[in-house]
């Protein structure tokens, strides 16, 4: 693969990481402003270098683009091998975009260890871009594991009261899952003599081998998504994480789990994927229905949104295992939309938390009286969370449900319950927090959004609406890659 003129992917990885290092070096607690501005400049630069990935992207091919390949550890044939296709490219952009928002969101809310906080997000951003762009399994693994560290620190240092429990739970859960994946990588290396993903795509494998490998990959990715029943770390992690941590966790890191399904499991193990589709679909539907009910009874806004995330990610895994273009494109659209919507929802909770230092639903009521602008934004994002048309939340749900009807009516039936459940838990929360008379003196003392918060939420509102009204620019990018992936998965490897 010929290297492109400008190594955009390397820039997408290393600009934020180096910016993070710069923030660490330059930032002192006494001079937090410098850390903030350096971080913002780094995040902005990190986002700008990803824009050519979209504008120069060739949507007519499923080949890997913007490729870079250098030797890294020749003894094991490990390469620094990067490239994106229509499936991964949008997530690099989404991640860099989210990093920009998160740095901006933490502007004055974070008062201790500002430099470290900002640096953690910047470094994590680079690592996540690395995971989305890696075409070498070991390179992927390094990024995949390394990104745990900043997140661990973000929760463990800037988190709430039970932050240590939550951080350790998060770390152990995801670490244990990914160890099995490493075993699978080593096995595949022995079989193929290469760590290149593209070699593994065409590697013939017996069905029982595929099933074992499926189990190993599944352990890593299902935890990350997270799928029922390995989801319980997420509702514990969110309430303890600071706002920015929740945003990245929900908007980006969950997506890496789902990305693993399309990048590893489906193309490397097509036969096992078909054989075990029923299993994945069943777990996905449990996520949609069971978790939907669980979300209904949550008393903490962050836990509620965490459960709602699990439920929404159920649509993603469901969409992939329907093996149809609408299903897979719906799943990818759902991933992007959830990036916007969950980020927005957690930012909204953060706005309230910054003012009242609580995210318990019962502590609020009648916020619309004192924060009308904020109430309008929360309404928009709540409707997006409930999958209302003309918001991004609709696109994925709609396409996945349509694909599911074609696959099996009853699967669609169960998936479509989210129309009712999603509306119920989201709007019931809205009713209790935003509507009503002013509930207490704390709510009466609330001040509406400041300029920074307003434009932060307005940016996400624009993203949510643009994608809802015109998803074509998003879906056209993925189309050829998805079609070719499905054609590849349809062919047996036995």
């Amino acid at each position: 693969m010929a290297p492109t003129m400008t190594p955009y992917l390397s820039l997408a990885i290393w600009v934020p990481i180096l910016a993070g290092v710069a923030v660490l070096v330059l930032g002192r607690d006494a001079d937090a402003a410098k850390a903030r501005w350096t971080a913002l400049a780094g995040a902005l630069a990190g986002f700008l270098v990803t824009i050519p990935l979209y504008t120069h992207f060739d949507a007519t091919t499923s080949a890997m683009q913007f490729g870079e390949r250098r030797e890294w550890i020749p003894y094991f044939d490990i390469h620094y091998h990067l490239g994106v296709d229509g499936i991964s490219v949008l997530f690099v952009l989404l991640n860099s975009f989210t990093t920009l928002l998160v740095v901006w969101a933490g502007w004055e809310c974070i008062k201790v260890r500002v430099a470290q906080y900002m640096a953690a997000f910047l470094i994590m951003s680079g690592l996540i871009n690395g995971a989305f762009a890696a075409l070498d399994a070991i390179l992927f693994y390094v990024f995949f594991e390394a990104m745990l560290i900043p997140m661990y620190l973000i929760i463990g240092i800037w988190g709430g009261e039970r932050r240590v429990y939550a951080a350790i739970k998060f770390f152990l859960y995801t670490l244990l899952g990914s160890l099995l994946m490493l075993v699978a990588f080593i096995y595949l290396y022995q079989k193929s003599g290469s760590f290149a993903l593209q070699d593994w795509f065409v590697l013939p494998l017996a069905l029982d081998t595929q099933v074992l490998l499926f189990a190993a990959f599944f352990a890593a990715f299902a935890v990350k998504v997270p799928m029922w029943p390995v989801h319980t770390w997420l509702p514990d992690a969110h309430p303890e994480a600071p706002t920015g941590g929740s945003v990245v966790l929900a908007a980006i890191t969950l997506k890496i789990g789902a990305y693993g399904f399309v990048r590893f499991i489906l193309p490397i193990l097509p036969d096992a994927s078909h054989a075990l589709a029923g299993f994945v679909i069943a777990l996905s539907l449990i996520a949609v229905v069971y978790i939907g009910f669980v979300a209904l009874v949550q008393t903490d806004m962050k836990r509620l949104i965490a459960y709602s995330s699990i439920s929404h990610m159920g649509f993603v895994t469901l969409g992939f295992f329907l093996f149809s273009a609408q299903g897979a494109e719906g799943a990818l659209a759902q991933m992007i939309s959830h990036g916007f919507v969950s980020a927005a929802m957690f930012l909204c909770v953060g706005v309230l938390y910054d003012r009242m230092h609580t995210h318990l639903i019962a502590d609020f009521g009648g916020v619309a009286n004192t924060m009308p602008k904020f109430a309008a934004f929360v309404m928009l994002f709540s409707m997006a969370n409930a999958g209302l048309p003309a918001t991004s939340g609709f696109v994925g749900e709609f396409l996945v449900i349509l694909a599911a009807v074609k696959f099996n009516f009853w699967i669609a039936f169960l998936a479509a319950t989210s129309l009712v459940l999603g509306a119920a838990y989201t709007l019931w929360m809205y009713k209790r927090v935003i509507y009503g008379d002013v509930a207490n003196a704390n709510v009466a003392a609330l001040t509406d959004l400041n300029r920074r918060e307003f434009w932060l939420l307005a940016t996400l509102a624009a993203a949510v609406l643009i994608m809802g009204v015109w998803p074509r620019p998003f879906i056209d990018v993925m189309h050829v890659s998805v079609t070719d992936l499905l054609a590849h998965v349809a062919k047996s490897k036995l």
Partner: protein
């Protein structure tokens, strides 16, 4: 300006106005808020009128505006279908909306959320226009949900009232249950037709008449029956059919102008419009049509009966809306789609009139809505009285008012139909005429006739400012002018439209009726003109039932006003059932709302809490030393340590790369 540009203008002008007023409303003078939105809707109305003339001249249009997405070989687009069915809906929606905009200037004059209210109703107009102009299922669903959203926002407009925010959540969720069926129906359409475009789907439908689908066991289900029933579930939510009707009476918590616009004239008729639009599909499934007929008939009679026991003036009108929606649904079920749309149109005028009239009474009564504390208002507010009387006579089906023609057409169609369930429907809608006349004139007599039962010196308990005090007086012209303008079509649209719509070929290709579904064909054969229809009408049972209903109301509420209480006491069991709306609300609150919370609690505390967390934490204890080790690291220097590690890692990486 080309016609295409005009089509685009119709929905976009209200959208832009809504956005402008919504975003900058609080910085604009109040007058700007109403001028911008009202003028926008007026532009839409004029454009609709031009389109209507153009369509009547034979020009129809079906084309896309832009492609929303292409996936799996299916093009999903935003586009317009302009045909007679759309044209008549455009007129109804923009006209009623315009009247409501003008009326709101008076009704909401003192409200804090003035600009917000105008922004919402203008957004509603946009959404409803997108719904009726759609040429495909995607946009239909978009409009469908968007009107639901605005309905939610407006029912909860006074968001400090606990009852309002309960009602709007209930309305949204009940509608979502309908949408749940609707989206499955759309999914089935896409699955078998491979397209979401009306024209393509309708062209393909006949070839699938015999197709079946495996749903349950070995029984084979007709594909089209399942599809149509799923779609109809959507209509049941939006058009408030039993048992999804529960949200509509509660929606009266919203300000009265939106009760008129959304919960009487337009949004709730979206389901009726949708089924009429889908006539090429429903025509292919007799089973689905029977389901439609029976559900419609049940609502027409039994929900109407509930109107008799209501004391809130708006709730009387709300139950009457439920009943009238049942009539329209019966018309759909017996394949008399034109009769359904005809009644939709006349109902939109006279029901909007009744709601706005009720609102005028409410203003005059200083926000008192209880009929028991009204009486004798005729003298104080003549315009409201006379216009509401016209609306009431139209609703009861007294000739020559509009409702007589449209309602009688439905009754006759139910009589002439051959579909299973039509006999039940015929008797239900016939008996419904008496019920309708009775509760309507009960309301009229209680509000406008007899001795005043209110304190003329101002209203106790509410503490309104001086502006409100004093005896009831006629509302300002911005309120009464819409009443008059709505009264006019409530009178004349009956005899002018029955010829083209039911006896002629008004709808052309936009509605398909198969010859076997004979109701409409026989209807056409039986009457060749308005005269014959009226002659027959005044000689047949429904007319005399309407007269009887009015007479009964007169007897009970004017002649012998002490009687109703005694009857209620005698029939206290029935009275309790009726006052509790047949216990639908109690059942839903206990079974669905309570049940969902109990299931949620069970899953959360036992499923997640005990079982999954038990396993997880159990395993964690097994490797407790790991946790202990990690806990040691919580020294405050962890971050430095970790960052050093990462930097080391990347130094290594970089070195390998550059080497």
């Amino acid at each position: 300006m080309t016609m295409q540009q005009l089509y685009l203008l119709v929905p976009t002008v209200p959208l832009v106005a809504s956005i402008v007023v919504g975003l900058w409303g609080r910085h604009l003078p109040r007058a700007a808020a109403h001028w911008i939105t009202t003028l926008a809707v007026a532009v839409s109305f004029v454009a609709s009128a031009v389109i209507y003339r153009d369509v009547m001249a034979g020009n129809t249009f079906n084309g896309d505006v832009y492609t929303w997405a292409v996936t799996g070989g299916v093009k999903m687009a935003i586009g317009f279908l302009i045909d007679p069915l759309t044209a008549i809906m455009l007129i109804v929606v923009t006209f009623v909306s315009l009247m409501v905009h003008v009326y709101t200037i008076g009704y909401m004059a003192d409200d804090d959320g003035y600009a917000r209210f105008f922004s919402y109703i203008c957004l509603f107009t946009f959404s409803m226009l997108m719904l009726v102009m759609s040429n495909n299922f995607l946009q239909l669903f978009f409009g469908w949900e968007a009107v639901g959203l605005v309905s939610y926002l407006l029912i909860g407009f006074w968001f400090r009232r606990p009852t309002a925010i309960y009602a709007n959540l209930k309305a949204f969720l009940a509608n979502r249950v309908g949408d749940f069926g609707f989206i499955l129906g759309i999914g089935l359409v896409l699955a078998w037709a491979g397209s979401l475009d009306y024209a393509e789907v309708f062209a393909k439908a006949p070839s699938l008449a015999g197709a079946t689908i495996d749903l349950w066991g070995s029984a084979e289900w007709s594909l089209l029956t399942v599809t149509c029933i799923c779609l109809f579930v959507g209509a049941m939510g939006k058009s408030a059919q039993v048992p999804l009707h529960v949200w509509l009476p509660d929606s009266m918590e919203g300000p009265t102008p939106i009760s008129a616009l959304i919960h009487a004239a337009t949004m709730v008729t979206a389901g009726i419009f949708m089924v009429a639009r889908m006539s090429p599909l429903f025509e292919l499934s007799d089973t689905a049509l029977s389901v439609v007929t029976v559900i419609g008939a049940t609502g027409a009679l039994f929900l109407g009966i509930l109107g008799i026991v209501q004391n809130d003036i708006k709730r009387v009108v709300a139950y009457s809306t439920l009943s009238q929606l049942g009539y329209m649904t019966v018309a759909l079920g017996v394949s008399a789609y034109p009769a359904a749309i005809f009644h939709l149109m006349t109902h939109a005028f006279f029901k909007a009139l009744l709601f706005l009239g009720a609102g005028s009474v409410i203003i005059a009564m200083h926000h008192e809505q209880d009929l028991r504390r009204m009486g004798g208002l005729r003298r104080y507010m003549p315009v409201t009285y006379w216009t509401m009387l016209i609306g009431s006579l139209a609703l009861c089906g007294v000739p020559p008012f509009a409702g007589f023609f449209s309602k009688d057409a439905i009754i006759e169609a139910a009589h002439l139909a051959g579909i299973a369930g039509h006999t039940y429907a015929y008797w239900a809608v016939t008996a419904g005429v008496f019920v309708t006349a009775f509760y309507t004139f009960r309301m009229m007599f209680l509000a406008f006739h007899g001795a005043p039962r209110f304190e003329a010196g101002g209203h106790a308990g509410h503490g309104h400012d001086d502006h409100h005090a004093g005896p009831p007086r006629e509302s300002p012209w911005v309120v009464t002018a819409p009443l008059v303008l709505l009264a006019i079509p409530s009178v004349y649209t009956g005899w002018t439209y029955i010829e083209p719509m039911l006896l002629g070929d008004f709808f052309g290709n936009s509605i398909v009726v198969r010859p076997e579904h004979r109701a409409l064909w026989e209807f056409k054969n039986e009457w060749h003109g308005v005269g014959a229809f009226v002659q027959h009408g005044v000689l047949s049972l429904p007319f005399w039932l309407a007269i009887g209903g009015i007479a009964a109301a007169w007897y009970l509420y004017i002649a012998k006003p002490e009687l109703p209480a005694r009857i209620a006491a005698r029939l206290s069991g029935l009275q309790t059932v009726l006052v509790n709306n047949y216990y639908f609300d109690a059942f839903n609150a206990w079974f669905f709302a309570g049940g969902a919370r109990r299931i949620g609690g069970l899953f959360a505390h036992v499923g997640d809490g005990k079982v999954i967390e038990g396993i997880v934490n159990g395993s964690a204890r097994l490797v407790g030393w790991t946790a202990a080790l990690l806990r040691q690291l919580q020294s405050g220097y962890v971050y430095q340590y970790a960052f050093t590690m990462i930097i080391g890692l990347f130094a290594l990486l970089t070195w390998w790369v550059i080497r």
